[in-house]
């Protein structure tokens, strides 16, 4: 377990050139509370291991026949053993031997493990495979069983126990080394060294080992904690340290016999073992976590929070399915990925939302559907669905309305279905919950809906798992799930992006026919301008969390007025595009929502940008019938 967590923490792409940073990163770990605590504890254990025997060795060994097997007293804090020796000092002095043996056993484990683990890289294919197979078998057995096995071979006693615990840890380190070497061996610089003619051994020593050293050291630290506990176990069983020498396990075993009269004799060494074991363990884990940590840079560019203005849009008429006013989505920190979005969707209307990734279009959709969880925050002046205000009221209040009247179709049909449940059952679920149908009735409706979205052999398919469906069929099933109720609005978030081009058209046609047949309004979100123009009546163009232009889809190619909309259109090649010219692109990159500029967010990439654009953000204003635009230079330069 420790091994896997550390492997996961191994940063990708680390090469030799970053080794200078190692010391700094280990120091950084000491500055975290857990790392500092564990480091302090570990330092204490190590100092005690060095200093305790010379300081108190004599006192721990001095017998006092007047005070045999006594409980704690002022003279003897933990009490005395059967020869009257002071147990407090014996526990302190035992630190040296306990830690020494644990470190020795760990060293044996690491060295043997490294030899076994790197053998495949040195021995070549066949020999390496054999070693790897043996390691794989050995790793499946718990360490204690291996330790018992080796304890039999090496005999009862300290030497035998060190070898036993060391060798029983070797398979784990071998497995770790195998994995690490395999990761590094695939990197470019190793391939380059191989091409340059470096031999296998040289490759291992010069190029591979330096790069696996750090995770190995971290795991050895954690392993030392394990070895310490294991050694205490063996000594406790009488298979480890033998009298007259003593470690914590030995003291514990001796103390347990008299636990009725004198419990501290067993508890004190027990506490010492746990504390020391934890010190190694926690420190290793803290370093492992710290090494994988990426510190976030300074956050700049503060943006005004949601200032929700009053109702600016005209009062919606009765035909409106969805009315959104001044919708803001925020996350902790300065980021406001959606900044004051307002629009309406009428019955049976198809509205497209288009923009680059990161423009806030998906978050807008999720916010409308009340699917943004903490720590995200949604604020709005208006958020009305079928006449119900969604801003107030608990999840429970709106459950039935949203569950039956709002359908969602997500981008990736592969991951949007639960892989462990049958498709039919997943479709039937909302009907059982919201419409109170019985299980057979809900399943029958699910099959009927699958048929409605043109899934062949729907009855059979309903009993299959999602991974048995093709991508297009899964997406149709997802649409079918939305049709289990009687949706008034279907929000489709990039429904065809993850699909094959050939399948895309099928899914689009299906959405089109559903809209026509049942008068379902469609909020269609896509980064693909041509798809949106084909599907929708009206388009909302989003950039950096705002709507920058709203226009009828039919006018997109001919009379878009925002430079960003025009650039989006120009970037799509059509039949008349001159193939000798390079394809048009939008220069620059989308803005980071955490670092918004003061003026228009598009100014840095805009050919028309003036000083005013850079200073002042243009408001979204009416621009002819059914149109809005947010640009100081709308329509210029065409």
């Amino acid at each position: 377990m420790a091994t896997t967590s550390t492997l996961a923490a191994l940063p990708a792409g680390r090469g030799r050139w970053r080794r200078d940073g190692t010391g700094n990163r280990w120091l950084a770990v000491l500055r975290t509370p857990v790392g500092a605590g564990a480091g302090l504890l570990l330092a204490l254990v190590l100092v005690l291991a060095v200093l305790a025997p010379p300081l108190w060795g004599d006192r721990a060994a001095a017998p006092d026949t007047d005070h045999i097997l006594e409980g704690p007293s002022a003279a003897h804090w933990v009490g005395t053993d059967n020869l009257g020796r002071d147990l407090f000092y014996r526990v302190l002095v035992a630190t040296r031997l306990s830690v020494e043996l644990a470190l020795l056993a760990t060293a044996i484990g690491v060295v043997v493990g490294l030899l076994l683990g790197t053998a495949p890289a040195v021995l070549g294919r066949r020999g390496g495979r054999f070693v790897a197979a043996v390691v794989n078998v050995a790793v499946a057995f718990p360490g204690l069983l291996l330790a018992l096995f080796f304890a039999v071979i090496f005999g009862v006693g300290m030497t035998g126990a060190v070898l036993a615990i060391g060798l029983s840890g070797a398979p784990v380190f071998a497995r770790l080394a195998q994995t690490l070497v395999a990761t590094v061996a695939g990197r470019d610089f190793v391939a380059a060294a191989r091409i340059a003619g470096a031999g296998r051994f040289r490759l291992l020593v010069r190029h591979i080992l330096p790069n696996v050293g750090e995770p190995l050291v971290v795991n050895a630290t954690i392993g030392a904690g394990g070895a310490l506990l294991a050694f205490a176990g063996l000594s406790f069983l009488g298979l480890g340290v033998q009298t007259p020498r003593y470690d914590w396990g030995r003291l514990l075993g001796e103390g347990l016999a008299g636990i009725y009269i004198h419990p501290t004799a067993a508890l004190a060494p027990g506490v010492a073992v746990v504390v020391a074991g934890l010190a190694f363990n926690l420190f290793g884990e803290a370093v492992a976590k710290g090494i994988g940590l990426v510190t976030s840079g300074p956050v700049a560019g503060a943006v005004a929070g949601p200032v929700i203005a009053g109702d600016r849009a005209p009062a919606p008429d009765g035909d409106v399915v969805l009315d959104v006013g001044e919708l803001w989505v925020s996350f902790p920190g300065p980021a406001h990925p959606v900044r004051g979005v307002s629009f309406t969707v009428r019955r049976g209307e198809a509205v497209g939302v288009v923009g680059e990734s990161g423009s806030g279009k998906s978050l807008t959709a999720l916010a409308i559907a009340r699917l943004i969880g903490e720590p995200g925050r949604v604020d709005a002046a208006r958020l009305t669905f079928l006449g119900t205000d969604l801003r107030t009221g608990s999840e429970r209040v709106h459950r039935t309305l949203l569950g039956t009247s709002l359908a969602m179709v997500f981008q990736d049909p592969m991951s949007s279905f639960n892989p462990t449940r049958r498709v039919g059952a997943q479709l039937a679920e909302p009907a059982r919950v919201h419409q109170g149908l019985s299980r057979p009735a809900a399943l029958a409706r699910a099959v009927d809906r699958l048929r409605a979205v043109r899934v062949p052999a729907a009855g059979l398919r309903a009993r299959q798992y999602p991974h048995e469906f093709s991508g297009g069929m899964r997406q149709r099933a997802m649409i079918g799930m939305g049709l289990m109720g009687a949706p008034a609005l279907m929000i489709a978030d990039e429904p065809t992006t993850a699909l094959d081009v050939t399948v895309q058209q099928q899914v689009l046609r299906l959405l089109e026919s559903i809209r026509a047949a049942d008068d379902v309004a469609l909020l269609f979100i896509s980064h693909d301008v041509s798809v949106v123009a084909q599907m929708c009546d009206r388009l909302l163009v989003m950039y950096a969390g705002r709507i920058v232009e709203e226009l009828p889809a039919a006018q997109l190619r001919t009379s878009a007025r925002h430079p960003y909309t025009r650039a989006l259109v120009a970037a799509v090649p059509d039949m008349r595009t001159d193939l000798d010219q390079p394809l048009a692109v939008i220069p620059g990159r989308p803005v980071d929502p955490a670092h918004l500029p003061a003026g228009c967010a598009f100014a840095a990439r805009c050919p028309l940008a003036s000083d005013r654009c850079r200073a002042e953000d243009p408001p979204l204003v009416a621009d002819g019938p059914g149109r809005r635009v947010a640009c100081w230079h709308a329509g210029e330069g065409s």
Binding site: V152, I153, G155, V273, F410, S416, E429, H467
Partner: protein, 332 residues
């Protein structure tokens, strides 16, 4: 004739390539046979790897030479290795594991007499650990999803980590002190009425329960971020259905592998706990036998523990294949 001979393997090969389940079964059986062979061979070699004469070591330097010789002959140690090995293999498969050097009782008899106590302990502890870990881990996962309740997460993670690190025998000692010596609720040691099971089972179950709960929380948090959970929420299912029906089963498949690992360390943990509680099982027997150098008994019990671990690993892989059909494909 020749055509039959050539098409048969081709057809088998084709079927192997087609049928992922069959391929899974073949691969898994191969691994089991290999592990079993390594285990039996290691247990056979154990007595031969002991430096010097194991019988002399066992009987002590004062034992008469004639006795040592007789014992060597009885154990078959004078035969060449190549004769002893098939003999040992035959013995293992017919249930003949030799005779104890100290009590002269058959090893298989000792094992079958001691095994129920150990099995009870291991199974009860495993069930306890799972029964505690699943609700706690899942609830903590739901509570701390998406970076919520950071303090609760920190408290839970550090507590479960400390509990997961405390070795079972130390916990056993502490539990004996508090609940047997101090409070007198349970017996200090031995196997008798139901009350005598509580402390051994708890000391075995705590560490695996803590580790499992900790992993399950992480998996649960990850699963709760999956797209299909968003789908479940978009269907407006009650929160309990989202967590229990959609998230938990998926989080559990990820933890199942760890369950197997925990169960096999738990099997090994019985050795220590049995010695704390003087529990009359295989664990206390193997330690006694190692101390008295009763090698045939040690060999037999090592074999039993090893086979137990192999069975656990096999069960986990099969359970994983049944719960998550995709793991079979991944395996092949």
């Amino acid at each position: 004739m020749t055509t039959v001979a050539t098409t048969a393997p081709v057809r088998l090969g084709a079927r192997l390539a087609e049928n992922t389940w069959l391929r899974f079964a073949v691969r898994r059986t191969g691994r089991l046979v290999l592990s079993l062979w390594v285990l039996i061979t290691a247990s056979f070699l154990m007595i031969h790897l002991i430096p010097g004469d194991p019988v002399r070591t066992a009987l002590g330097p004062t034992a008469p030479a004639a006795l040592v010789q007789a014992r060597r002959a009885a154990l078959g140690l004078d035969d060449p290795l190549l004769t002893q090995y098939p003999h040992y293999l035959r013995g293992v498969f017919t249930g003949d594991l030799g005779v104890s050097m100290s009590s002269q009782l058959p090893v298989s008899g000792i094992i079958s007499q001691r095994m129920p106590a150990t099995l009870q302990l291991a199974v009860l502890a495993f069930l306890t650990a799972v029964a505690i870990a699943i609700p706690v881990g899942a609830a903590m996962g739901a509570l701390t999803r998406g970076g919520r309740a950071r303090r609760a997460e920190l408290a839970f993670t550090s507590t479960s980590m400390v509990l997961g690190t405390i070795p079972e025998f130390l916990l056993g000692v502490a539990l004996v002190y508090v609940f047997a010596v101090h409070l007198g609720w349970f017996p200090v040691a031995g196997r008798g009425a139901a009350g005598s099971y509580v402390l051994p089972v708890v000391s075995l179950a705590v560490a695996p329960a803590a580790a499992l709960a900790r992993i399950l929380r992480v998996d649960m948090v990850a699963v709760l971020q999956a797209d299909f959970v968003r789908t479940a929420r978009a269907k407006r299912l009650p929160a309990a259905a989202v967590y229990l029906k959609h998230a938990l089963p998926n989080a559990l498949t990820a933890s199942l592998t760890l369950c197997g690992l925990l169960l096999s360390t738990l099997v090994a943990g019985t050795v220590l706990v049995e010695n704390v509680f003087a529990w009359p099982g295989l664990g206390s027997t193997i330690v006694q036998s190692i101390l008295t150098k009763d090698y045939p008994v040690v060999q037999g019990i090592v074999l039993v523990y090893g086979i137990g671990v192999l069975i656990v690993n096999l069960l986990v892989d099969v359970a994983l294949a049944l719960l998550d059909p995709r793991s079979v494909i991944r395996e092949g």
